[in-house]
């Protein structure tokens, strides 16, 4: 929480900058500039806020915030909080009660609550006369203000306390879905998918009910908010202090001494140990793998995820599919690694690949096999033989035998193919992912130009190679070749002594140099500056975007309101407030105009809203957009929010 101190920063005296009426005798009514539709009035010890009609609105601002919306949860249950920066809400008090106003000066929650607090940055907790409710940050009530206590399950469901017991309220049905008969509830709101059941406590023991109050698991357990899930595996209950895993589908309880070391795999199966061996039970309660393995682990490297699990038996490893089918029996020494629908298998200290039937697919073993990053639709495997790399494309079965120090992705593209950059002793070439050499490995540099064309550099110089036509388009005799800035459909080849260069089209034909294109000047409204003979300072006026002069150049300074509300014009020591058409709002000129943020030296744009606090001599008045004055008498300027607010 930060306390934002809003003090003198918010009362800048425009230009004239004189501290007003310092010697004037108090009490007198003083007031601030309007901000977010309100201004603060101070009289002696008392202080309150008025709205733009000049009427009292509230006493004090407690906090300011931007309301938020949340994005729908993504597949792993994360959602983002998006603040609505256009809208500012002010938490205010009036006669000891709390409410909320927005920056249009409108009440979104009337000042009738004892407290209003922000919760989890997304909800408002409202309390009145010992009852509470929640509202969204725009002030919309999500449940009636009638419960002793309440918690949030999701936007539609709230656990509510009434008569000392807890029930579930549905916003959609506008009623108690589950009567208030329980001692406590728990629910996993943060689990990836929302559960359709609740943990509930009765007579000190916990059980599980659905949203229709049907008992799914009887009230026989202890519970703490650990290992919460929302699927069929209940891992957060204990029986007589002992860990249990319960399957909600078949209601079966897994517990010591028969079952130990219970965890749920990323595939949603229960992994447990029975008679010192591990097996798997599916979310539907079906036995997936018998209790015959020394271990069952994840089969993927860091970035991988999928339906396969690694099984270990007698020191050998194999692969099991999540439905229980053994894809590769445990016969390999060393870890089998799953990569998409293929498996990297260790063979006598080297590696080969197996497909999803478990069949070995490479004719020989390699010193290393890794899955290349997933930039391409079909997976590619890097093959290593001693210090050299090649690759294998399982889609067409093509093997490019190891002959490179490096194989990497490239920014070079060509129609109908995916490309890889290969290199050896810092000479570079290109291959298609289907295994064809596209550019021989004889260049110092290979860079993308346009699809199908690649800028190459060798000792003789830079040129362009046409991938589709398999030939040099521009011979490698230039200092540099790139896309012409003047015409992106042309290539520009430069020599050291000739920076202007020669131009080629994409077919390799020399063409004349393109003409530089200049965008036409856009019509724009702007300040008009008029030089005055004998004066070093010009006078200012304003032309609209059709070029028509709407303010004649007669002012020493002209400040334009950013949102088109009008102009502040200064001539001599006097200010005139002009409307958007450049016409004076009032006949009267002012000695000073107060702004929230004073314009710096040389600034021509300002931001303000009406009513605007203007000074003439000792008199301060609020000028409305209609050119009238609010019926408020002011003798001095005070800060809008001198106490600071909590954000």
């Amino acid at each position: 929480m930060t306390i934002k101190s809003i003090t003198a920063r918010h009362i800048r005296y425009l230009l004239a900058g004189v501290l007003l009426l310092a010697a004037r005798i108090l009490p007198a009514q003083q007031a601030s500039v309007f901000s977010n539709g309100f201004a603060r009035v101070e009289e002696g010890e008392k202080s309150w806020y008025i709205d733009i009609s000049g009427k009292k609105a509230f006493d004090r601002i407690l906090a300011m915030y931007h309301p938020v919306t949340t994005t729908p949860a993504d597949e792993i249950g994360h959602s983002l909080i998006v603040p609505d920066k256009e809208t500012t809400m002010m938490l205010v008090t009036s006669n000891g009660k709390t409410g909320i106003v927005n920056n249009n000066g409108k009440w979104v929650l009337p000042a009738e609550y004892d407290t209003i607090e922000m919760k989890w940055k997304t909800y408002l907790e409202l309390r009145r006369d010992g009852k509470m409710a929640y509202a969204d940050t725009y002030g919309k009530l999500l449940l009636p203000l009638q419960f002793e206590d309440a918690g949030i399950l999701d936007d539609q469901h709230f656990d509510v306390k009434t008569g000392g017991k807890w029930g579930i309220y549905s916003t959609a049905e506008n009623k108690l879905l589950i009567p208030a008969v329980y001692e406590s509830f728990d629910y996993c709101g943060g689990c990836g998918s929302k559960g359709d059941y609740l943990f509930a406590q009765q007579n000190g023991k916990w059980g599980i009910i659905d949203f229709h109050n049907n008992i799914l698991i009887p009230f026989e357990y202890e519970h703490e908010h650990y290992f919460m899930r929302s699927d069929n595996w209940i891992m957060s209950l204990k029986k007589n202090g002992q860990d249990v895993a319960i399957n909600l589908e078949n209601k079966k309880e897994y517990a010591a001494p028969e079952y130990t070391d219970m965890t749920v795999t990323s595939n949603g199966a229960l992994k447990a140990r029975k008679n010192d061996k591990y097996g798997l039970v599916g979310e539907d309660g079906r036995q997936i793998a018998d209790f015959i393995y020394d271990d069952i682990t994840d089969a993927y490297n860091e970035q991988g995820y999928g339906p396969y699990l690694r099984i270990m038996q007698n020191g050998k490893t194999g692969i099991l599919r999540e439905d229980g089918k053994v894809i590769i029996p445990p016969v390999y020494e060393g870890d089998v690694v799953a990569a998409g629908e293929y498996f990297i298998i260790p063979v006598d200290g080297n590696y080969n690949l197996a497909d999803s039937t478990g069949k070995k697919i490479l004719p020989k073993d390699y010193t290393a096999i890794t899955l290349m990053d997933k930039r391409f639709e079909t997976p590619l495997f890097k093959l290593k033989q001693k210090a050299l790399y090649g690759f294998y494309n399982p889609a067409n079965g093509k093997i490019v035998e190891p002959a490179f120090f490096d194989i990497e992705g490239t920014t070079v593209t060509a129609p109908g193919m995916d490309l890889l950059e290969v290199s050896y002793q810092e000479m570079y070439g290109l291959y298609s992912t289907s295994g064809q050499q596209v550019l021989p490995m004889e260049y110092k540099k290979v860079e993308a130009l346009v699809p199908g064309l690649v800028a190459v550099k060798k000792e003789t110089g830079a040129g362009v190679y046409d991938i589709m036509h398999k030939k040099m388009l521009i011979p490698a005799i230039y200092n540099n070749v790139d896309i012409s800035e003047a015409d992106t459909n042309l290539l520009r080849a430069t020599r050291k002594e000739d920076y202007a260069g020669v131009f080629f089209n994409f077919k390799g034909m020399k063409v004349p140099a393109p003409k530089e294109k200049l965008p036409p000047p856009a019509a724009k409204s702007r300040l008009l500056e008029k030089k005055v003979a004998g004066s070093e300072y010009p006078l200012y006026g304003y032309t609209d975007n059709s070029g028509k002069i709407i303010i004649a150049p007669i002012y020493d300074r002209l400040l334009v309101e950013k949102n088109g509300r009008g102009f502040l014009a200064q001539r001599g020591g006097e200010f005139t407030v002009l409307d958007a058409a450049g016409k004076p709002l009032s006949k009267q000129a002012f000695d000073d105009v107060m702004l929230e943020e004073a314009p710096g030296y040389g600034v021509t744009e300002v931001q303000y809203g009406f009513p605007l606090l203007c000074r003439t001599g000792d008199v301060l008045q609020y000028l409305t957009a209609e050119g009238t004055f609010l019926p408020v008498k002011i003798t001095g300027v005070v800060p809008f929010n001198p106490y600071g607010t909590i954000e």
């Binding site: 200290g349 073993d365 001693k386 210090a387 050299l388």
Partner: protein, 774 residues
């Protein structure tokens, strides 16, 4: 691959520099960047090792001891820092196994693990094969042995000799964390411990071992789910019959826990205190225990020296700090108990009252204090006590040092009050500032008397006899007994200029200043309104660095009288009796130090020359300089555009004949210049490099000078010896981050080649240096 070999002697003129050897002519040579330099030979991009002996195609990895793994002939090999190929370029894979412990070099090792046809071996950095690639796995185990796997079983090998110390028979072998140079072994699922030579220390009969003490004397073990303790030799000292065992108080006792209760047993398994405590935590060599929510202390002998009946207990060591944890022994193998782990006293809370118990559990101070905190002074621990809201200071024996009559004892500085005792001298330790509200007083702990009441916000010893006091805008002075020697005076300015002399400065209404020299009794010995005394105004040129911050003082029996700026009496001093001493013949004489002073003579009304004179007005350094300034510990003489160097005693180090004399960024050298040529001297002005170079750059990290003479580059060492003669047209140092300048890439005539630190060239040369685009 076609290579051209040329006899250098036939082509080059600098035969004397390097031995005639076969030279490879490269397409280009690049500057060294760490271990390697990029070179192009026969249009093949390669990398030259800094030994100059090995060319590789690609760097794969480099380790702590500058061993590199590289690629050549499309296979992996390894090269030592000395340039020896320790694993030939034939392997499928090579991994570095190394460890560098900055504090304990006995933990260091470095070797490479080789892989060929799916099997693993190892080689050391001298090039010896530790074991051929015949194992399914090889990994480092301890600094002395590597472990290898064969047929699913682990054994280990001596890294130094390659001898198999343990045949592969274990299911697992891991470095043990409970005992140094020990391997935890596993057989039939049970754990044991073996020495590096394979000797069994603990047979494979246990579930696990756990770390107990930092000095390796004992370790924990688990059998059938119960915990026990073994000694360093693997003998069971506490049988496995507890839920948990940890080190107890002292070095040979153990805290054993059963059913949530903790007791103490000794190294013979004998129960000294049966399990009874719900909580037990080490406070250095003793243990704080909790029974029924009340605390007591068990000492290193296993005796409950403070019964468990107090609300809290803190142990304080000889540095006055609270002891929280068990003793930490940092020196390997040390068994001595660190002194900071030994409690000096215990601060015991009984409800809201605090008392003090000694290290044997005897009550020293009754439960009569609201608060007691240790107070360290002059390396002695005292107790700051609070009684009825008043603070005092007691000795550990309970003797009252300062009675509890104050709001606090001063320690450190505060924005509203300061006690400055830097100049208090030997008796400094006898004085302690005391606080009442925000006001300071001074207490003499040797006499047990308050010497100054707490009414000041500034107390400062100006020397060992005079105290300067300030209270708001009123100042006064006291002697070391607290006797006021100058009564409080608003805007008064007193400065002690000696232990028995005070200068009083008065600012007169007409804008002038009157300063007076007085004795302690206040007798005015000298007074003048031409004297503008300021306590920080003094000539410090001749003072050594350590004393330059001192204020204006009598020195050599004289106090310089600084006049107003219009005054002509810049040669005036006072002796201790206030008698004027004038140094006739000099227009300026600065404060004396060590019997010498800066002296000036007006040559013309606009020019003064300076020199150094002694107390007898004799010239020590002639009055010839336009200016004298400090340069390091010496004095730089400026005379017109020329510079010279003298000592603070006036001895000439370098005659006034250089155009510049500068220090070299804090290095112990001066760079001297004359006629756009430069040389180097040491800080005593002795020539290291003669004044004949166009440019000299000092390489602090290497203690070497890069020099240029007549457009040619070379390198000199810190003694001035040219280790690379200045004969090269171009010279580029190694730009790796290891701060080694060598090998150099140099150009002589039309050829580029490399030179090592001995000036020996490598057998590669080229007419082209690697460019940005290559």
């Amino acid at each position: 691959m076609r290579k051209r070999y040329i006899l250098t002697g036939l082509l080059l003129t600098h035969i004397s520099l390097y031995a005639q050897q076969q030279q490879v002519v490269a397409d280009y040579l690049g500057r060294f960047d760490g271990q390697l330099a990029p070179v192009m030979i026969n249009r093949q991009k390669q990398w030259l090792h800094l030994s100059g002996k090995v060319l590789v195609d690609k760097l794969e990895n480099q380790g702590y001891f500058k061993t590199i793994v590289a690629v050549k002939h499309n296979a992996y090999g390894a090269v030592s820092h000395a340039g020896k190929i320790i694993a030939p370029f034939k392997y499928d894979e090579i991994n570095l196994a190394d460890e560098k412990d900055d504090r304990d070099s006995s933990k260091n090792y470095c070797f490479v693990i080789t892989r060929l046809n799916g099997k693993y071996g190892a080689a050391d950095t001298l090039g010896n094969e530790i074991c051929p690639p015949i194992y399914t796995q090889v990994e480092p185990a301890t600094p002395h042995v590597l472990k290898m796997k064969k047929d699913g079983r682990w054994g280990w090998i001596d890294i130094k000799t390659g001898k198999i110390l343990q045949e592969p028979i274990y299911e697992d072998a891991e470095k043990s964390y409970v005992r140094d140079y020990t391997i935890e072994i596993k057989k039939a699922g049970k754990a044991g411990l073996a020495a590096e030579d394979g000797t069994i220390i603990v047979p494979t009969e246990y579930e696990s071992f756990n770390y107990l003490s930092s000095n390796n004397t004992y370790f924990g073990f688990t059998a059938k789910g119960k915990a026990g303790v073994m000694d360093h030799d693997g003998r069971i000292v506490v049988p496995a019959s507890y839920d948990k065992c940890s080190m107890g108080p002292g070095s040979d006792l153990f805290a054993v826990t059963q059913n949530g209760k903790t007791g103490i047993v000794d190294a013979h398994g004998k129960t000294l205190l049966p399990p009874q405590y719900t909580e037990a935590s080490l406070m250095g060599i003793v243990m704080k225990v909790n029974k029924g929510g009340k605390y007591g202390v068990v000492n290193a002998a296993g005796k409950e020296i403070i019964p468990a009946q107090y609300s809290d207990i803190k142990a304080v060591n000889a540095e006055g700090r609270e002891i929280y944890d068990g003793p930490v022994i940092t020196a390997p193998g040390s068994t001595a108990t660190p002194v900071l782990a030994i409690p000096l006293v215990f601060l015991v809370n009984n409800g809201t009252a605090t008392g003090v118990f000694d290290a044997d559990g005897k009550q020293l101070l009754p439960f009569a204090y609201n608060r007691i905190t240790p107070f360290l002074r002059e390396r002695t621990v005292y107790l700051e006590v609070e009684q009825q809201g008043r603070t005092g200071l007691l000795g550990l024996d309970g003797k009252v040092i300062i009675p509890p009559a104050y709001d606090g004892l001063m320690s450190g500085y505060n924005s509203s009050y300061s006690y400055l005792d830097d100049l208090a001298g030997e008796n400094k330790k006898n004085y302690l500032a005391v606080l009442k509200g925000e006001r300071l007083g001074l207490f003499n702990t040797a006499t047990g008397k308050e010497i100054l009441p707490a009414k000041y916000n500034w107390i400062q010893w100006q020397n060992n006899s005079v105290l300067f006091l300030r209270n708001g805008d009123t100042t006064s002075m006291a002697d070391a007994t607290g006797k006021i020697i100058r009564e409080g005076k608003q805007y008064g300015f007193f400065t002690a200029v000696d232990t028995n002399r005070i200068v009083e400065t008065k600012y007169n209404d007409d804008g002038t200043t009157t300063s007076a020299l007085t004795d302690i009794a206040g007798n005015v010995l000298y007074s003048s309104n031409q004297w503008e005394f300021k306590e920080d105004r003094a000539t410090r040129l001749l003072m050594p660095e350590s004393t330059r911050r001192r204020n204006a003082q009598f020195s050599d029996g004289l106090l310089k009288v600084w006049g107003s700026y219009s005054s002509t009496r810049n040669n005036l001093f006072l002796d201790a009796n206030g008698k004027e001493i004038v140094f006739d013949g000099y227009s300026f004489v600065g404060d004396f130090w060590n019997g010498l002073a800066l002296a000036g003579k007006d040559i013309t009304p606009n020019q003064t020359l300076y020199g150094i004179i002694n107390r007898n007005k004799e010239v020590v350094y002639p009055i010839t300089a336009d200016d004298l300034t400090t340069l390091g510990n010496q004095i730089l003489v400026k005379q017109g555009k020329l510079r010279g160097l003298i000592t603070r005693e006036g001895k000439v180090l370098l005659p006034v004949e250089y155009s510049e004399i500068n220090d070299l960024y804090g290095a112990p050298f001066f760079k001297v210049g004359r006629n756009n040529k430069y040389g180097i001297t040491d800080t005593l002005g002795r020539i290291i490099l003669p004044v004949e170079f166009d440019d000299i750059r000092y390489r602090e990290d290497n203690k070497l000078f890069e020099v240029t003479r007549e457009g040619k580059n070379g390198i000199a060492d810190a003694t001035g010896k040219m280790i690379i003669p200045a004969i090269f047209d171009e010279m580029e140092t190694n730009q790796g981050y290891e701060r080694n300048l060598f090998p150099l890439l140099v150009k002589q005539g039309e050829w580029y080649f490399y030179l090592d630190a001995q000036g020996k060239s490598f057998p590669y040369k080229s007419k082209k240096k690697k460019g940005y685009d290559d």
